[in-house]
């Protein structure tokens, strides 16, 4: 039986879809079978970030409504053969997602995949609560910024109360993925530090993804950053996070400060 992972945040634009694609690819690159599901019905984007936008025929809503069989809707990645995508519908309304339908799809996928990764829409409404409903593990994507931290706190509350796991009285495993982190600004005191966010949200750290142009470049060309530029610091951080999700214990590495020549010369004084 596979593990169900939800990538969630409350706030929009913090990097859920980017992280879903990168973690899904990173897990699949190790040979595990992974499927990423886009729950953002009406505003799908995971297909675009994965570079599969022109291959979408059927989607999650088609499967739930019985218009297509589940295998027909799954798109196999052209680069990693153990990676699959189940896209969201672009034309339908999110009300077409029924709790029973979602439960059926996830139960089926769990039988065939090691990882079922649900990309949650922003907000705390139906789409988001259905995406987290059947999760075994949650990745809470947070930016070091006040509104994102507040929304993450709210989402943690929902993970602990509105999921099947929580309702059974079990503990939901939650991990913090801190994205768009800028070491220089944090050290200067103009951005919340990793420790600040960890202390406020009190969930364990899965990884720190540095603010980086490589992430945008990867989405420009339609590839998860772990495939587009595997050596980039952001990709390395996602690879590490994926290994941690798979149960490996390794320390979280801090992104290195970007320094120009001047920075290097004056680094002693700045420290």
């Amino acid at each position: 039986m596979g593990k169900v992972l939800v990538v969630t945040s409350g706030k929009g634009g913090v990097g859920k879809t980017t992280s879903t694609a990168a973690l899904g690819a990173a897990l699949a690159q190790t040979g595990a079978k992974a499927v990423v599901i886009d729950f953002d019905v009406g505003l799908r984007n995971l297909d675009l970030v994965m570079g599969a936008e022109r291959r979408v025929v059927y989607d999650l809503v088609n499967v739930i409504q019985g218009d297509a069989k589940l295998p027909q809707a799954l798109i196999r990645d052209k680069r990693v053969e153990t990676l699959y995508l189940l896209p969201a519908s672009q034309t339908r309304d999110k009300d077409n997602l029924t709790p029973e339908g979602v439960e059926w799809v996830i139960t089926e996928l769990k039988k065939h995949f090691d990882w079922v990764i649900c990309d949650s829409p922003a907000g705390i409404e139906r789409g988001a609560t259905l995406a987290m409903r059947h999760a075994d593990v949650a990745v809470v994507v947070t930016n070091p910024e006040v509104s994102s931290v507040r929304d993450s706190d709210r989402i943690i509350g929902l993970l602990d109360s509105k999921t099947v796991k929580a309702e059974r009285g079990e503990r939901m495993e939650k991990h913090l993925l801190l994205t768009r982190y800028d070491v220089t600004r944090a050290q200067r005191g103009d951005m919340l530090k990793v420790e600040d966010v960890l202390e406020i949200l009190s969930i364990p750290l899965l990884g720190i993804i540095p603010e980086s142009a490589d992430v945008l470049k990867a989405s420009n060309v339609g590839a998860p950053v772990t495939l587009a530029d595997a050596k980039s610091p952001a990709a390395q951080a996602y690879f590490e996070a994926a290994r941690r999700l798979a149960g490996e214990e390794l320390p979280v590495s801090m992104p290195e400060e970007k320094r120009g020549l001047f920075g290097k010369i004056f680094s002693r004084r700045a420290a």
Partner: protein, 86 residues
């Protein structure tokens, strides 16, 4: 602390941190978990049976940790109310 710090502009991250801590403590107590709300009501009701409590003089704090949550309830009981109960 180096002498350069004297000329540094005040930083904004500590303010962000403090504002968040205050706000979230409030929000968690207000609607975070129903259990906290229920506990608060029932504990206060139990105290109110024996002594008069001023709702304004009650402070509730929830500390969340990775493994445990700590519910702290501070109830100020006036001296004469204590005497009354005795």
């Amino acid at each position: 602390m180096s002498i350069f710090n004297l000329f540094r502009k005040p930083t904004s991250a500590p303010m962000a941190r403090e504002r968040l801590q205050v706000l979230l403590a409030h929000e968690r107590a207000a609607q975070g978990s129903d259990l906290v709300a229920i506990l608060r009501e029932e504990i206060l009701a139990a105290i109110a049976k024996h002594v008069q409590v001023d709702a304004e003089k009650v402070r509730i704090k929830v500390d969340r940790d990775e493994h445990v949550s700590i519910l702290e309830i501070d109830v100020e009981i006036p001296r004469d109310a204590q005497a009354m109960a005795a």
